[in-house]
């Protein structure tokens, strides 16, 4: 008599983005003429750049020839791509064989918990990307949720009061998820802020899961682009990153995880955690698509990198436009300077989902309610800088002219 994994029943609600899609669809059906602008889900909108299209095309053509055909590759990824990614870590201790290529940061950030004990206590920034929480709920590391707050999970509030970076947890925790540049708040952790967490992790034999999917958007060179810029991080931190936002691979699917040899925890020797991740990937995954990996290699050649830079600048200009528009309206806005997300304080203290409905109804603009990212996100709202310029400008115009404030 088979039974289901009952932890699924603990999940407090549908995954955030399907809920947004559902509400948007309902509005759209009720208002078929409404031209809805989407700044909700962080989905890229600009076409792939020429160098990447060339790289992908060559791979496809090559697979159609006897000489160029290839089947199974190493689950860790092709050598050229691992080398190219490792170059981004120049100046740190990270090498190509620490890089595990994957089909995206979402897969890795949800699966990474599976190599750790189900008894571990998990700490997340609050608000946080929902996948960190949901993957641990499903894997049995929490109790039930009360109003969206899971028993047994340690929430580290990130609010305007602490500059959107948390204090060290007051109770002992084992696995700590940190995202910087932060989704959803757009805040970037400083060297000093990260050093405190690295020191804590080493002292307490904890593991940091560091999500740097938005690192390429950092404009301020004094801010760390990887946790491995922090002294000691290679002993306690696993970093997860992505091609999704930097080169528009949200649908193409490519990411990576860095597991240094030195990373250890309470009951493992150096090298063992890396071996576990290798084994996990060898058993549950068969490598990212060879075509897509060729696209990744192209993205990292000099022409590809130049195009990436331009694409990032484009989205960052969108972010500037959004933040400026909101500020002019008297709305307090954060982020958008080193990240493609603008995090605004909802006007007049209204709730996040209430603001979602208001923005949709009055402006036909879709954003993401802060409360969907965790309890401390209540009263905040995320607008994404991913969008065609004309749409971003139109969205800001509508918010400026149509949003009914006090």
């Amino acid at each position: 008599m088979a039974k289901i994994n009952a932890s699924y029943r603990k999940l407090a609600a549908g995954y955030l983005f399907p809920e947004i899609a559902k509400r948007t669809r309902a509005f759209s059906e009720a208002n078929p003429d409404a031209d809805i602008l989407r700044l909700g889900i962080g989905d890229t909108t600009e076409s792939l750049t020429p160098t990447i299209v060339d790289g992908l095309s060559q791979a496809v053509q090559s697979l159609g020839t006897p000489e160029g055909y290839s089947g199974y590759g190493d689950s860790e990824g092709i050598g050229a791509l691992r080398e190219g990614i490792a170059e981004m870590y120049a100046g740190t201790s990270i090498h190509a064989d620490d890089i595990f290529v994957s089909d995206g940061a979402k897969s890795d950030s949800s699966n990474i918990q599976s190599i750790f004990s189900s008894d571990n206590v998990i700490a997340v920034q609050d608000p946080a990307y929902p996948v960190y929480v949901d993957s641990n709920v499903i894997s049995g590391r929490t109790g039930n949720a009360t109003e969206g707050v899971y028993d047994g999970l340690v929430y580290m509030p990130c609010t305007a009061e602490n500059g959107f970076f948390p204090e060290l947890p007051s109770q002992k925790v084992d696995i700590i998820y940190i995202c910087s540049p932060n989704n959803p708040t757009g805040a970037v952790a400083t060297h000093a802020q990260l050093q405190r967490f690295v020191d804590y992790a080493i002292e307490n034999k904890a593991i940091i899961i560091f999500d740097s999917a938005y690192a390429v958007f950092i404009q301020d060179d004094s801010l760390p682009k990887t946790i491995y810029e922090i002294e000691g991080a290679e002993k306690c931190a696993i970093e997860i990153s992505s091609f999704s936002k930097s080169v528009g691979f949200t649908g193409v699917r490519l990411g990576w995880t860095v597991v240094p040899d030195a990373v250890t925890c309470e009951d493992s020797e150096p090298g063992e955690i890396k071996k576990l991740w290798t084994r996990r990937q060898n058993t549950f995954f068969n490598g990212a698509s060879n075509i897509v990996q060729a696209g990744g290699v192209a993205a990292l050649n000099p022409a590809g990198k130049e195009e990436m830079k331009q694409l990032v600048s484009f989205y960052m200009e969108n972010a500037r436009i959004i933040r400026e528009g909101l500020t002019k309206l008297g709305i307090t806005a954060y982020g958008g300077d080193n990240a493609p997300y603008v995090w605004l304080k909802t006007p007049e203290g209204i709730g996040s989902w209430e603001f979602f409905d208001k923005l949709l109804e009055e402006c036909h603009v879709v954003g993401t309610p802060g409360a969907g990212f965790g309890p401390a996100g209540e009263g905040y709202f995320r607008l994404s800088a991913f969008g065609h310029r004309a749409n971003v400008e139109e969205a800001v115009k509508r918010i400026s002219e149509q949003l009914k404030l006090g």
Copy 2:
């Protein structure tokens, strides 16, 4: 103080294929002039067909244009592909919305267990594709292994004596993995054989995980190509399948899982297991690459299907050549008629790994030791029909001329 998932330490040995790669590499380094022929891992060798190359190319070009660009898609896959796959199930109760597109059958067959309770008792055919076993070991559903046999796991022996299809398990089991056409034995289950298991599953509220990754190789039309040809299967069976072998997507990565609404178990209502898989995929996966999915759509159009048929015929002719060669030598061989694998009884009762070394040393041919697929595989050996024709012919020639048989 973080701890690792200690179940990883229960894994009896390295994953089979890395071990083969290791031994092959060692031999190759010691014998740099040896021209090694690989009929071990079931890796495709023939180039992608023109219709698929066109489909992939168009998708790539399209992503380079503002009109054709797309980002995140539904994690379940694009509609056209789900429709195309559903057409393969014509005559059964399966519809497009039962189809969940993925990056391959390996991911799905390893992850499917995660939606079920960790208390469930697992039954596998013996020999079996190692991923079924390893994914359950890692997820804590077994005890330790003694000589490769895991405590708490129910092995259902498949040998020449029972025509390589198991009896019903004598103890109650909850989740049953069945692969047909079988990897590694090449045997195809009949309607009657599958009906017995479906009846058992319904009576005992068990779940069947049916792996049909090789269904397209079935030549005998009287044999079932999907478990949904069996009465009642939609109430108890989840089917996993793949584009890897049928169109050479081992490196390109595309597969699917079928979860009908009606499938239930002890503690679930109809529809709930499907919802769990949807939630699992929405949380741990972000959809197969949009480029690759376009290739899948092309593979299922009329021209693509015709090319698939020719490719399958090509590999099946390889299988015939291998089986015929072995038979001529007096080696007892099975499979190869409705599956791209030939399963031979090792001559003179020598061990599987001993035969692996012998074949490598005497013929410079790599195959797969039956023992690597489970205890009942000892004394058997798998040769794969995936290979260039000249290589397959040369391998058979070498085995015929160079293998030292008592």
